[in-house]
Each structure stands twice: as structure tokens, then as C-alpha cells.
């Protein structure tokens, strides 16, 4: 893994190669391995080692970036010249700020996210884990597919204004699908410490879901009470957080246009962005190296604050919206410059209001409803009402009289997120969850009334 001192040394070389006043380099270093299985067999098994330097230059209100994975002098020089060439022909942008200072890179530390036992995982150990998953499948007369991955990564940002920040971490992930003749079940977990990921437990749950949903029956589409497991919640709500950036408001592409400060969701919805949370992951700084801050995004249903890159905060302060958007300050959520998107919160933590229920308790309290394990192929239908469409998948069940009755054919939904977050009747304890459509979050299971299913598919 790239060390901070190495990054600084390469930065010094890049700085010397450049003819302009400001230079920034984002380094990323990856050692990633993934063992993939299907039909109870490891069928794909890969590893990657890669180090990348992404060089940004800035001068006279112009900026551009060139990225390379070659660190020899000639390649770095070519990248510097490329960035300078792209910047040189631009019209000056009076909104472009000087690069972040060393001070802006300082602040709170996250808990350590590096675990030697995760970094040390071998191909044989991943295969052994997969072997245990396959054993669970065979015990249940099922077929399994999934992944067991492990990685080490490091990120460093160094700039000519004295900023130098560094983060390294490990990650382990297991995702399991269990397939029966007419049904399937799924579970997934991801954590910096491999000890927090239990392949056998995940396999047992996925297998039970596959067994319990066999012979699925058809229920007509309509509005139903649903119990969404955490992965289903995160894959849905993940679609709204790209709108919680200041630039999205300035661009008028956010569903929060004219809605900040209003009670948009139910009283029981409170959402933070908090990279320092013990169940969170990732680096404590943004794409400019600015230290992240905790941001209170939604409080008791009211949208309170947005996230800001440095440049967006400056623009917002001068804008017509400045008195309507809550606190305006760089929050450490900017993407690497230059970019069109500005910033977004990506370390979401739901703060539950107390009275948490387990999924079993939610089911027990449901007269008639649908239990959903996972959602799939979610896309935005309406950007302002935040209507999303998508499918249920890998474990959809009818709940009647407080009990799971049987599996159901999968549904298509068309559901407004705003409406959904006004209809939350119960929540579980917020847990670290992992899906496929959105980034990992700390999010609870939810029981929601009036969830809008519009069609049923054939399986």
C-alpha cells in the first residue's frame, strides 16, 4: 500500500514538473481480490493491484485534471502537461477558489478502519469461506451464487497549498444468493473487519429465505403495508442523497428546490451524514482534502442542511437561496475538481426515534402486508416527486395476521420517496447495511404503509 510519505515524495516530483502556480495530486492505491461463485463452484476468482495519481493544476481561474497509473518521470510529465493543456484553453472562472489549505485538511479522526486480519486474507481462505457457504447450500438442497471479496486501499491528497491528508483501510464483503427451483434468498454484508462478516450465518439466512419463499403465489398489484429489510431501505433512499448538495440547489436539479426548512418527511425521520460513526466506512476527507464534518440533514422530518464543497459554499452565500438553505459552510463532501455534481453526503446514518422494533416484531404487528428482502434495478421516474421504480427480488413474502405466510411473485413498484418517508410506521435499530443500488449506510428496517406496487412479474 502507498504510504503518505511516498505520496508526498511523488507529489514533490509532480510539482517540479509543473509550470503553474497550484498543483494537487489525489493518490489512490488498491489491492483488491474477489472470489466469485455460482452453481456451487468458484467460477471467477480475481485480484488487482493498481496505484493511480490524479493530477490537478490550477492557475488564472482555470483548472483541469489528468490521471495516470504510471509513475515514471515521463508519464508524470505527460500527465502534468495534459492537465495544463486542458486548463490553458479555458475561459477563466471567477468562482474557482485557491486549493484547500493545510488547516482545512485537519479535524476529527475516524476510528481505525484498517484490520490486519482483513488485509492478510489469502485466496485459499476466501475459497474456504466459499466452501462453507456451498456446504450450507448443499445441506438445504439449494444452489448458491455470490462473492467473497477482500481489499486494502489507501487514498492520499497532497497539494501545493501545504495540505497533505491520508487514509487507509481494509474491507471484506460477502454476498450470497441461494437458489431453489422456484424461489431464492439473499444476504450481503460488508465491513472493514472481516470478523464482522459471517459467511455461514448469512448463508443460513439466505437459505431459509429461499426455502420459505418456494412456490410463490401471485398477489394483485396495489398499495400494501410493507416491511423493508435494511438493504431494501438503503437501495431506495440512496437515490435522494445526490440532491442533498448545495450545487444541486443552485442548478435547480434537486427535489429539495423550495423545500429546505419545510417538513417534507414524517416526524420520525432524522438523518445525519457522519463519517465518524463506528459503523461507517471511508476516508474522513473529501475530494479536495477538506476534513468532513457531521451534517444534520433531516431533523424530525424537516430538511435542515445541505452538504457543501468549498466552492459551492461560496456560490451559495452569494445566491438568491442563501437565506433559505440552512447553514452554509464547506462540510467536506466535495467531489474531486473539476466536476459537474459538486458534492453529496455519502456517509448516511439514520437516527431512529426510539421504540425500535425487530423485523420479527414488525411482522407480528402486521395484519396484512409484504416482507421485502431486497430491491432491484431501481431508477428515478420523476426527479421532483422522487418517484422511483424497481422490482422486488430474492425473498418477497406475504404477511398475514402477524405471520409470514408464503412467498410471492415479485412486484414492480412506482413509489414516491417523499410519500414513503411520511408513511413509516415502525423502524428497527440502524445497522450497517449493504445493497447493490446505493452506497453502504447505517439504516434501519422500516415498516411502511401504502407502498405502491403497480405490476407483478412471472416469477
Amino acid at each position: 500500500m502507498l504510504e503518505q510519505a511516498q505520496a508526498e515524495k511523488i507529489f514533490d516530483k509532480v510539482k517540479k514538473l509543473s509550470s503553474v502556480s497550484e498543483v494537487e495530486v489525489i493518490f489512490s492505491s488498491t489491492n483488491h481480490a474477489l472470489t466469485r461463485f455460482a452453481n456451487n463452484t468458484i467460477h471467477q476468482n480475481v485480484s488487482e493491484v493498481n496505484e493511480v495519481a490524479s493530477i490537478r493544476v490550477a492557475f488564472d481561474g482555470k483548472t483541469a485534471r489528468a490521471t495516470t497509473n504510471r509513475f515514471d518521470d515521463a508519464s508524470l510529465k505527460r500527465a502534468v502537461q495534459s492537465a495544463e493543456g486542458i486548463a490553458r484553453v479555458q475561459e477563466p472562472d471567477s468562482d474557482l477558489l485557491p486549493m484547500a489549505s493545510a488547516e482545512e485538511g485537519k479535524g476529527a479522526e475516524t476510528p481505525s478502519r484498517w484490520f490486519d486480519q482483513t488485509a492478510a486474507i489469502t485466496p485459499a481462505e476466501r475459497a474456504e469461506g466459499v466452501g462453507k457457504i456451498v456446504a450450507v447450500a448443499k445441506k438445504n438442497k439449494l444452489v448458491t451464487a455470490g462473492i467473497f471479496s477482500s481489499s486494502q486501499s489507501a487514498e492520499a491528497i497532497v497539494n501545493s497549498n501545504g495540505l497533505s491528508v491520508y487514509h487507509s483501510q481494509t474491507s471484506a464483503e460477502v454476498s450470497i444468493t441461494m437458489l431453489a427451483e422456484s424461489s431464492s434468498g439473499w444476504q450481503k454484508a460488508n465491513a472493514p473487519d472481516v470478523k464482522d462478516v459471517d459467511p455461514v450465518r448469512l448463508a443460513e439466512i439466505a437459505a431459509q429465505k429461499a426455502r420459505d419463499s418456494s412456490g410463490p403465489r401471485e398477489l394483485p398489484p396495489g398499495k400494501y403495508t410493507v416491511v423493508l429489510e435494511p438493504a431494501a431501505v438503503l437501495d431506495l433512499v440512496g437515490f435522494m442523497f445526490w440532491d442533498f448538495g448545495g450545487l444541486a440547489i443552485l442548478d435547480q436539479r434537486s427535489f429539495l428546490n423550495n423545500r429546505i426548512g419545510t417538513k417534507l418527511f414524517g416526524e420520525n425521520i432524522t438523518i445525519m451524514d457522519d463519517v465518524f460513526h463506528p459503523l461507517q466506512s471511508n476516508a474522513p476527507f473529501d475530494g479536495e482534502g477538506v476534513r468532513r464534518r457531521r451534517v444534520n440533514l433531516v431533523e424530525k422530518g424537516v430538511v435542515r442542511n445541505l452538504t457543501y464543497a468549498r466552492g459551492t459554499a461560496e456560490k451559495m452565500r452569494k445566491s438568491e437561496y442563501k437565506d433559505k438553505v440552512g447553514a452554509i459552510q464547506p462540510t467536506g463532501h466535495g467531489f474531486p475538481l473539476p466536476n459537474e455534481m459538486g458534492e453529496a453526503p455519502t456517509n448516511i446514518v439514520f437516527i431512529t426515534p426510539g421504540g425500535e422494533q425487530t423485523v420479527d416484531q414488525m411482522i407480528a404487528g402486521t395484519e396484512r402486508g409484504i416482507l421485502i428482502t431486497r430491491l432491484w434495478y431501481i431508477r428515478e421516474v420523476d426527479p421532483y416527486e422522487k418517484i422511483l421504480t424497481g422490482m422486488t427480488r430474492d425473498g418477497t413474502f406475504l404477511v398475514e395476521s402477524g405471520k409470514v405466510k408464503h412467498g410471492l411473485l415479485n412486484f414492480r413498484f412506482n413509489q414516491s420517496l417523499i410519500e414513503m418517508l411520511n408513511n413509516v410506521e415502525a423502524m428497527g435499530k440502524a445497522v450497517r447495511a449493504s445493497g447493490e443500488e446505493a452506497f453502504d449506510m447505517v439504516v434501519p428496517a422500516m415498516k411502511i404503509r401504502g407502498f405502491n406496487f403497480t405490476e407483478v412479474t412471472r416469477f
Partner: protein, 490 residues
């Protein structure tokens, strides 16, 4: 040091240590990505990545390792790592890997292009994008104008233990723009020539002129504004005409993905899903009406699609495979490993990797619907439609994990009454079941209306790989389609 010498280090290492088969890909990929927003620079960058990937078969199981370091020491280490990984794979195995035979080949190929896009100046690129933005913003009401351009050169050296030596270079160009209008409680969008980045092809910079971007900007801006005054698209069963770009995406999702043989065999069950096209359906399923003829064609003759190449990423020559023939399902897209499962003794050449650090997977090449044989213009197609909706340009897309139930939203719709286009509709959407939908197709425009669209962002695999695919299509008509589901209940 030549690429062949570097590859030989890896191949020698793995064959000496017992690999039954191995291949090596060295990839050098350069890109230029530029974007403007409201006339200012949005994104401005170049990227280059170089590395080597080593794929080995040991004890009938796969291993793959990759590195950005092309030194002798790193390549040897990576090759040894691939072996270790393959041995681990062999410990959890129910079926051995069986590779269809493939002759060794030596070839040097590049896609044809007129203007090397990297010889164009960045000034020239930005000038066009900012002029497009200015045209869009000249339309009163447009609140956000965005334009983008992507230029790429993908150079790959492939070697395997069978003796193949394949050097290929693909030059790609893409561009597009969009106008957003926020008014009241709605955000409306129009894009050109397609949504999500425009049109992309294996072409040089000549594509930019062909797209007539500037000439269409004003109209697109005006349509985005006009959508706010349009009525919402009605709900019900109606006849539907799709423009060729939307039909291209319909092909991608409801034909291209389900015909991937690896999906059918369960390789993607955990992530991208499986397929309703189980093996028993080959040459038996009535996929569409008699007018539906679809091919998977990676050959140069098909056109400059993002799925055009000379050889795939396991050394199999590009081919044209009939997928749907007069409505009958006739073919999957396959690999050397999967071909035998459908009784074939050769792969049809669709294995493609995103880069040096990814393994090749069965991927769409150019999955295209053939145009109608009888002359039929778009105007004639509309004139022959009494009551229906015409939809243009994708806005949202979703399909279940076996590729049965789909729902698409488009940016704009138009009423068809008495053979004429009438009122504009906002928020049009349609949904259905794949085979029912394709069986309802009763007209498709002829060759002069056919466009080979590029989808640059098709995701598949774990770790995720993004791939460019091609989809040729002409406007076509479908009878009795379910319209307007997306807003039902909302």
C-alpha cells in the same frame, strides 16, 4: 521491451508451473472527458491507464491476477498470484471448465476512422460545447444546460498459450447535451442525440459533425420548456411507436441481457440476475412477431458500433449470430467456456473485459434489430397509425432480474390521431412482459431510418465492469402496449 516479451514472462511462468491454458492481455487506455454546464467548464480531464492481466486455467479452474506494474518482477509475481488463485478455485468445484477449441491467430487491427479525435484541440472541443450551452440557454426557461464529449483510444495486446498474438486498437468518440427546466413542482429534461451522454461510436471526430449537435440545440431547449405546458401522458392500452434510440435500449434490456449465456447458466445469479431464456427455449420460443429479426454482430460490416472488434478478449474472431429469426429465438451469445452447453463446438466470440484489471465476460456486442425490408419512413409509419403514442429518448429504465417485466420512461411523447402527430405529452412511460411486447411489433421502418446507437455504460460482473455496446434500430410500432404505469397511484 516489447509487449510480447512482457506477456511471455507471464505465460512462461504459468506454463512452467502447470497451467493448462493461459492468456495475457496488456491494455493501454487513454481517454479525454470534457463537459460544460451553463457555458462553464464542468469536467475537464484526461486519463491513461496501462496494465497487464493474466488469466490461467489450473486443475480445470480459473484464476486471474492483474497489475499496473510491467516490470519483470511484478509480472512474474502476478502470474504466480493467478496460479495460486486458480488452485484455490479448484478447491470448490462441481464442474470442470471445458474450453471450446480455437485456432491460434496473429493479427493487427484498428477500427476505421477519418479524424483521430486526439488530434483535435481541446479548445475546439470546448468551443463546441460552450456554443451548444449558449444555444440551449438562449431559450427562455432553460435552467440548466449541460454538454459533454468523450474521446477514447483502447489499445490491447492479447497472447495465449495456444499461440495467438492479437493487437487491436479501438478509437471511440461520443458527445451529447441536455436541457433541464425547473418550474413550479416539476423538472423536465430533453437530451440530444440520446440521453445519458448522447451518441457514442467506434469512430473518429467525424462523428461530432455527423451528429449536428449545434443545429439541434435550440429545438431541444424549446421542447424542454414546452413540456411544462404539456398534458401528462394518458394511461391505458395503446399503440406505441418508439424512436430508434429508445428501441435500442429496449433491445439492450429485453434481448441483449437475456441472451447472455453466462446469465442463463447462473453465473450472474447473485448480481445481474439470471434469464427467462432457459436452454429449452432455443429454437422453440416465439420471441417476437415475424418482423423481429435480431443479430449479435461484432463484425466491421455491421457498422462502427461500440460492440465492433476483430477478435474478442479470449481470441475468438468477431461473428454475426442470428439471435431472433423471423420472430423465433435462434441464438445466445457465448464464450469458449459456455459454448458446449448449447451443443456448439465454438464460441461465437463475445467475451469482453473493461480493461487490463478485469476478466472477460460474455458481453453484448452489437445487438441490433434489422430494419424492415420494405421501404417505410417514419412519416409513413405514423400515417398508418390511427390512434397511439410516439415516445422519444429514454428517461428511466428498469427490468426484473430474469428480464421479463420491464418499464421504461421517456423524455417526451406525442399523441398520434388519424395518422398524424398531435399534442405533446409529458412523463410518458410504458411497461410490459418481454415476449408479449416483441410479439406485438407490427411495423418497423426501413434501412434509411436505422441508427447504430452506442450504450457506453452497460454494467455487469463482480467487480463491476462497464462496457460499451451497440444497438441498431429503426423506429417501430407495437400494438396494445400498457402505457402510463409509472405514474399510476402517484
Amino acid at each position: 521491451m516489447s509487449m510480447k516479451q512482457i506477456a511471455d514472462w507471464a505465460l512462461n511462468t504459468v506454463t512452467q508451473r502447470g497451467a493448462g491454458y493461459a492468456d495475457v492481455r496488456i491494455v493501454d487506455h487513454s481517454q479525454r472527458a470534457l463537459a460544460t454546464k451553463n457555458g462553464k467548464v464542468g469536467h475537464a480531464g484526461s486519463t491513461e491507464t496501462l496494465g497487464i492481466g493474466v488469466r490461467v486455467l489450473v486443475n480445470d479452474a480459473w484464476g486471474f491476477a492483474s497489475t499496473d506494474d510491467l516490470s519483470r518482477e511484478a509480472v512474474d509475481k502476478t502470474a504466480a498470484q493467478a496460479l495460486e488463485i486458480a488452485k484455490a478455485s479448484a478447491s470448490v468445484k462441481e464442474q470442470p471448465v471445458r474450453l471450446a477449441p480455437e485456432p491460434a491467430v496473429k493479427i493487427d487491427w484498428s477500427n476505421p476512422y477519418k479524424i483521430d479525435p486526439f488530434t483535435t484541440s481541446i479548445e475546439q472541443n470546448f468551443d463546441l460545447l460552450t456554443r451548444i450551452d449558449a444555444e440551449l440557454l438562449a431559450v427562455r426557461g432553460v435552467t440548466l444546460a449541460e454538454s459533454s464529449m468523450h474521446l477514447g483510444r483502447y489499445e490491447q495486446w492479447f497472447y495465449n498459450t495456444d499461440g495467438s498474438d492479437i493487437h487491436q486498437t479501438r478509437v471511440t468518440t461520443g458527445a451529447g447535451f441536455s436541457a433541464l427546466v425547473f418550474q413550479g413542482t416539476e423538472i423536465m429534461k430533453r437530451s440530444y442525440p440520446n440521453s445519458f451522454g448522447g451518441q457514442h461510436q467506434n469512430k473518429g471526430y467525424e462523428l461530432i459533425d455527423e451528429l449536428r449537435l449545434l443545429e439541434n440545440a435550440r429545438r431541444i431547449g424549446e421542447e424542454a420548456v414546452a413540456l411544462h405546458k404539456a398534458e401528462r401522458c394518458p394511461e391505458g392500452k395503446m399503440d406505441l411507436i418508439l424512436d430508434s434510440s429508445q428501441l435500442g435500449l429496449q433491445i439492450h434490456e429485453s434481448i441483449g441481457h437475456p441472451i447472455e449465456l453466462d446469465r442463463v447458466l447462473g453465473y450472474e445469479a447473485n448480481f445481474a440476475g439470471t434469464s427467462f431464456l432457459t436452454l429449452d427455449k432455443l429454437r422453440k420460443l416465439r420471441y417476437g412477431s415475424d418482423l423481429v429479426n435480431v443479430v449479435a454482430d461484432a463484425t466491421e460490416q455491421h457498422g462502427p458500433g461500440l460492440g465492433t472488434f476483430a477478435y474478442d478478449d479470449e481470441g475468438v474472431q468477431a461473428q454475426c449470430t442470428p439471435i431472433i429469426t423471423n420472430g423465433l429465438f435462434t441464438g445466445y451469445i457465448s464464450s469458449r467456456e459456455t459454448a458446449h452447453t448449447i451443443g456448439e463446438n465454438r464460441s461465437n466470440g463475445t467475451m469482453r473485459a473493461e480493461g487490463w484489471n478485469r476478466i472477460p465476460l460474455v458481453r453484448m456486442t452489437n445487438i441490433s434489430i434489422l430494419p424492415g425490408e420494405k421501404p417505410l419512413t417514419f412519416e409513413q409509419l405514423v400515417a398508418g397509425t390511427d390512434d397511439g403514442i410516439y415516445m422519444q429518448t429514454n428517461r428511466s429504465w428498469s427490468i426484473d432480474d430474469k428480464r421479463y417485466n420491464f418499464q421504461f420512461g421517456c423524455e417526451i411523447g406525442w399523441e398520434i390521431k388519424g395518422g398524424k402527430l398531435g399534442r405533446m405529452f409529458k412523463n410518458p412511460s410504458y411497461s410490459g412482459i418481454t415476449t408479449e411486447f416483441w410479439n406485438s411489433m407490427d411495423a418497423i421502418c426501413s434501412r434509411d431510418q436505422w441508427t447504430l446507437w452506442g450504450t457506453p455504460n452497460c454494467g455487469k460482473g463482480q467487480p463491476m465492469q462497464t462496457m460499451g455496446t451497440g444497438h441498431g434500430a429503426s423506429p417501430a410500432r407495437f400494438r396494445g402496449v400498457k402505457i402510463g404505469t409509472a405514474y399510476k397511484g402517484n
